[in-house]
Each structure stands twice: as C-alpha cells, then as structure tokens.
C-alpha cells in the first residue's frame, strides 16, 4: 500500500508492521508524532486486530525502563524521544546495552539541529557509540519504514538494543511510503534464556560487558554488509564524499554525473570500515564528510584513513560548524555557485515574527500577576522551565531569569535560595512538573528551602500539541504527599478578573519562609477548543 507519511509516521507504521507490542515515550519535538500515530491507529483498532500499548510515559527514563521490561518478556518495544530526552533516560539506555534484550528493542532519538524547538543540538549518535550499539540513520521516509523490521530482527538476533537516529527534516517531512501487505505478528510472551543477563551485579555485569565488547566486530560486519550503506567508485576517485542520513539527499540535489566523486552512503553504524578502506585503496586524497548534527563521522574518519588524506567537513569550514545542513550549504561545499534568486528589496517590509503565547492563554494571566508582584521586590529571581510558558521570557513579559532543562526551575530556585536569594521563584508547567519536578520538590521540602513553586497547570502537555499530562487532577495531592504543608499548596484560576486574588496569594506565599506551591490552573485554550468541538459533535 502507498501512503503519504511523515518520517515519524513511517517509523511508527514500520514498527507496527514489524509486530510491535508497545511504544513508550514522552512528547518532544520532533519525535511526538511517532507515538501519536500509533495511538491514532489503536483508537481505530478492530476487535480482531492486536493491541499495542501506547499510553504516554511520565518521562523518558520511565519510558525506557518500561520498554526494557516489555523486551524482557520477549515482546517488541519501541522508545521514542527528542534528543535531550536521551539525557533523561541515559542511565536506563546505557545499561540496556549491558543487559541486552530478549524481545527486539529500538530506541528512536529525534535530533533537532538548528534548535527549531530545543535548547541544544546534541547529536544522539554519540549516545549510540557511548553504549556501543548499532545505530540506524535513514536517508528517506521509505528507509525509515523499512529499517524498523530490519532493526527489530537485528536486535533479537544479536540480543542488543538498537538506536534509530533521525533529525527534524526526516521526522517532519512527508513522502510516499510503500508499506507491506503482510505485517508481522506480535511475539508471544517468553522469558529470557538467561535471566542473569538482566541482573547487573558487578560479577554478572562484567561478563555481559565482555560479551558486548566481543559483539563489536559483529556489529561492524553488519554495517559493512548493510544494504543501507554503499560505496560507488567515481571517475575521479581522488575526491570522495561521505554522506550520512539525509545529507545523502542534499548531496544528490546538487550532484551532476560529470563531477565524478566516489560516494559513500552511511545509514548504519558503526562506520562501515571495509567500505572506507576500499575508498582509500581507490586513491582518495580528499574526503568531504556531510553529516547532520555534530561532526561525529568527520572526527572518526581521521582515525580511519591515513593522515595524508585530507578530511574535510564541518570542522574545516567547508560546511557550517553549527545548525542543520541544507541543499544550499552542501552546494557551496561542493564548490558550486549559488543559484540565482528573485531579488526584491524587503528590508523595510519584513519584521521578525517570533512565536508567542496564544491570546487568552492562562500562562499570560499567570505572568501578568507574577510580574506585578515580583516588581514589589528589589531583586526577584524567577527560574523558568521547558514548555509553552518558556515564551514568558520574551516580549511582552520578560519574566524569566533562567531556563535550562526539564525540572531545573524547582532545583535552581532551591539552589539560589540556598545561596541567599529572596524571593526565589520557580515557574513550571504541570507536565514538566511530573516529568522531572517532583524529586526536586522533595529536596526543597527536606531542606525547608524558602521558595515558591508556581505550577502553571493547563491540564495538558501544551507545547507539543496537547498530549495527556501524567499528573492531571492530582497535583495538590502529589505536592502534599511529597511533604509540602497543605496550607501552602494554593490553587488560583489565572483569569484577568482574578488578578487581585492571584497577586495576594503570591505575596502571602513569597512572604512565607518555606516551601510554597501555587497552582495556577486553567485549561489550555487549544485543547479547550478541541474539547468544545468534540462535545458539539
């Protein structure tokens, strides 16, 4: 069957057609649509079709661990996250390489070079190398689909988790994908052959790690023979180009037959050393490496080819050091002239249009009140977090003094308070709070930190499009359960008419010497619109 699918959707359909039993994920751009696609398919499931577990996890670590549990029971599991989610699940991820797997286990990391919707552009291939496991990096939506079955089979055959790395333009670009008419059945439940493999006591872990080290040549020979890696000798083999993942497409956008370069396509790692040696033996004198993200392959290449061969790429300036590749940057790296474009003088008629909080959004009223109260103090510090409300750092609110990563608002506010800052305020969304804020709040309670945690609760995971939030309806109980005094867990409704009440609650809690939680609760207006529409029907 032919379908028009996003890269993310191709991955999801590929997993479903490969007999997936469960997907575990926390929403994060550009990975969210993988899980959403599976949820959508499951919501239309016929009674005779298989059930696939697909409920959102609280964070990437719980997702990774649950997937490992599913794999332990012999069934195929998928974990999906954005690149920075890899940091959150790193403990479980790294150790899953040591335990190995029973049912196939694929971890999808969707990197965001150019930081379209992220705070850094870390390259998840480092994590794959760090864990010493095979990595797939599709160059097309069709490959993304096809690779899922291949990667699940490999995962089971070699007892290893497999990392699938995509970037924004693969995740969020649509193309026609041919899917199978004969999807695979799900695995029946089965226990691991050797349960000790999953008990990482030092004595067992040492044995497992030795096995992982021994498996490296096997992973390498898989790469050398992979249909996703290829080497083609050019008419002018002195110049060779290595293109990884979607860089292959940018290369072909600009390539003409007369150029005569030798070409190495890389979509599976470890790097196919045999193909690289062939490229060297064919007389390569200069190797241009095109890769999305950080210069991982460019650095490795220097160790794999003789020092007489010039390795070029992002580190040597042929390609930009930062940001995603484009057909234009690759064109320049090939030494071609820029294409002629329409020239219109747009200087006076073009203004930037940065993203902003929606009109009528509760975060707006929350910030309006918070800013007024904060102004009553000589040096307030407000620590923000990751979500729509991060936009409170921009005009018109300019409300935030820091935003780092999921959950850091609570613990940075605590550290600042420990250092003597007053007032020290954290602003965090409901979903981010359950993702990574609760443990920090426990630290605050234990040391009676003098902070106010303002949970801006819109009852959803807003920034990624309104997915379920793990703690909806239970935030007060969670805070009280962690040890915040019930009289200092306050709830307000962020609406303009409640401005005076919100301000006085904030004042009281700032003045209270200890841990306060103020929950500003009003449904996200985007999900509200959707809910009202659904109710009409």
């Amino acid at each position: 069957m032919k379908h028009l699918l996003l890269g993310d959707e191709a991955i999801a359909q590929g997993a479903l057609d490969a007999g997936l039993s469960g997907v575990y994920a926390y929403p994060g751009t550009p990975s969210t649509e993988i899980t959403e696609y599976i949820q959508h398919q499951q919501s239309r499931r016929q009674p005779d079709e298989p059930v696939v577990f697909c409920r959102w996890a609280t964070n990437e670590k719980t997702a990774m661990e649950a997937a490992l549990g599913m794999s332990y029971m012999g069934r195929r599991a998928l974990v999906c996250m954005k690149h920075v989610g890899m940091n959150v699940c790193a403990d479980a991820f790294m150790n899953s390489a040591i335990t190995g797997v029973n049912g196939g286990l694929i971890v999808v990391a969707a990197d965001d070079p150019s930081m379209h919707s992220s705070q850094n552009e870390q390259d998840s291939r480092f994590y794959g190398r760090f864990a010493m496991i095979p990595i797939f990096e599709p160059s097309s939506q069709q490959e993304a689909y096809d690779m899922m079955a291949v990667a699940f089979n490999m995962s089971e055959r070699l007892h290893t988790p497999v990392l699938m790395r995509v970037t924004t333009r693969m995740a969020h670009s649509r193309a026609v994908v041919l899917t199978t008419d004969t999807p695979q059945q799900q695995n029946p439940m089965s226990l691991p052959e050797n349960v000790k493999h999953f008990i990482l006591l030092p004595a067992y872990a040492k044995r497992n790690y030795a096995e992982l080290v021994d498996a490296q040549p096997v992973f390498l020979s898989e790469s050398n023979c992979s249909p996703y890696n290829s080497y083609t000798l050019g008419a002018n083999p002195k110049k060779a180009i290595v293109a990884c993942g979607i860089a292959w497409n940018y290369l072909h956008e600009n390539l003409t037959p007369d150029m005569g370069f030798s070409l190495l396509k890389v979509s599976q790692y470890p790097l196919p050393e045999q193909l690289i040696h062939q490229m060297v033996n064919d007389g390569a004198e200069e190797v241009l490496v095109m890769e999305e993200g950080q210069p991982v392959v460019e650095e490795l290449m220097r160790g794999l080819v003789p020092s007489s061969i010039a390795v070029r790429g992002r580190l040597t300036g042929e390609l930009p050091r930062m940001g995603e590749l484009s057909p234009d940057s690759v064109r320049l790296a090939l030494g071609l002239e820029p294409t002629k474009t329409l020239t219109l003088d747009t200087q006076e008629v073009l203004a930037p249009r940065p993203p902003a909080l929606c009109m009528g959004c509760g975060h707006r009223d929350m910030y309006a009140a918070l800013n007024e109260v904060a102004r009553e103090y000589p040096s307030p510090r407000i620590f923000g977090d990751i979500g729509c409300y991060t936009l409170g750092a921009l005009s018109p609110f300019h409300a935030l003094h820091a935003t780092v990563e999921m959950g850091a608002s609570v613990t940075m506010a605590k550290g600042a308070a420990d250092a003597g800052q007053f007032p020290s305020i954290a602003v965090i969304g409901d979903s981010t709070f359950t993702h990574s804020g609760i443990t920090g709040l426990l630290d605050c309670v234990n040391s009676k930190a003098n902070i106010v945690v303002l949970i801006s609760d819109n009852l959803t995971t807003g920034m990624t499009g309104g997915q379920d939030s793990a703690g909806t309806g239970r935030l007060e109980q969670i805070c009280i359960g962690v040890g915040v005094e019930p009289e200092h867990v306050r709830v307000v409704v962020p609406l303009p008419k409640n401005m005076e009440e919100i301000k006085s609650v904030l004042r009281e809690e700032i003045e209270y010497c200890g841990v306060s939680v103020v929950i500003a609760r009003r449904e996200c207006i985007q999900t509200l619109k959707r809910h009202l529409k659904a109710a009409k029907k």
Binding site: H252, L342, L350
Partner: protein, 196 residues
C-alpha cells in the same frame, strides 16, 4: 514536471491543510512528493512555512534550495516576502492581501503590498471576502488561496477538487461543498487577475 512550492503563513492559519489537499491530489497521479513541515514551538503564532516539492522524477532534498521555488503560496502578505530568496527570478507569489498583525512593529501594509506588486508574477487576493462571496466561512480562506494557485501548480483543477473531497469528507457534505466553492472562487479570481 517539477514544482517547488513554499507555503507560508502564521502558526494556526492552516497552511498545512493546503499541503494536505495537494498531497492527496498528487498521491494518485503517480508523482513523487516531499513535504517538510514545521511543528513545535514555532507554531505558537510565529512565522511558519512548509516546503512542498512535486516531481515526475524522484525528489531528493526535503528542503527547497534557494532560487528553486516556482511558487510561494502565503496566507499572509508579509510572510510571503520572508521567502523571496527561495523563489526563481520568474517565480510566482500567490498571497492573501490581509495582514495578520500580532507583533508591535508590523511594517506599513501599503508598503508590503507595493513590494509584492513590484514583482510582475503575483496574485494578491482578499481571500476572506472571496470565501464569503462564495458562501463559505472565513476558515475556508485557505482553499480560496489554493484555488488561486492552481493555474501555476501544473495540476488540473479537477484533481485538486478530488483532493478537497477526500480530505474534508469526514466533516460532511456541507463542508465539502463550501470548500469546493471557495476553491473555485480563488481559481476564477486568479485566472481573471492573470489575464488582466
């Protein structure tokens, strides 16, 4: 046949519906297609764009190179101008003439429109008025704009109409017919605009 199209607008205006309809029309024509979308933070009222590439040959890059776009379809006039660097010297700008003002320093609209008009290959339409005249709600403005772009797309109007029928079928016959009326209104306005 090869068409590179930039769809532009402000987050929430509905540029992706335009892409979806074209995609549906193309899927059954045996053509190759790639369409890069913007999701995530930038969707919150910021500038958004989608790169749509259609070709009878396989499409390599998901992104349109500079100087390669045949057409900019924009639901907002200033946003149309953001991407002129991607347009071929003789490419077309098909845009709504209605400004979407959600920033404090929005440039004077007359100047924006005059800049678009300085390029001969342009179609500027009050898509909301045309939607209303066609008996369709303002939400169907994006279909008016799509209709206006059909003469430059290299795809027959009838195929695009089939796409509209498929994409809106879930919403009922009334919505389908209103969107078809909006599409036709844009098409006719564009044809008479180009001939004048």
């Amino acid at each position: 046949m090869k068409k590179d199209i930039i769809l532009a607008g402000v987050g929430g205006q509905g540029i992706l519906s335009i892409a979806t309809v074209i995609g549906e029309a193309v899927l059954h024509e045996g053509l190759y297609l790639k369409q890069a979308e913007v999701h995530g933070m930038s969707q919150r009222g910021g500038d958004v764009q989608s790169n749509l590439r259609i070709s009878s040959e396989p499409v390599h890059s998901d992104l349109i190179p500079h100087g390669s776009a045949d057409l900019i379809i924009s639901l907002e006039p200033m946003e149309a101008l953001r991407y002129v660097g991607y347009l071929k010297p003789d490419g077309w700008i098909v845009s709504s003439s209605l400004p979407f003002v959600n920033i404090p320093d929005y440039p004077p609209i007359e100047k924006i429109l005059a800049t678009i008009e300085s390029h001969p290959n342009h179609v500027l339409l009050d898509v909301e008025a045309l939607a209303k005249q066609a008996g369709a709600p303002a939400q169907a403005s994006n279909m008016v704009l799509l209709g206006a772009a059909v003469p430059m797309l290299g795809i027959k109007l009838q195929k695009i109409e089939d796409g509209v029928r498929v994409i809106f079928s879930r919403k009922g016959d009334d919505i389908v017919s209103k969107n078809l009326a909006a599409l036709l209104a844009g098409y006719n306005a564009s044809i008479s605009n180009c001939n004048s």
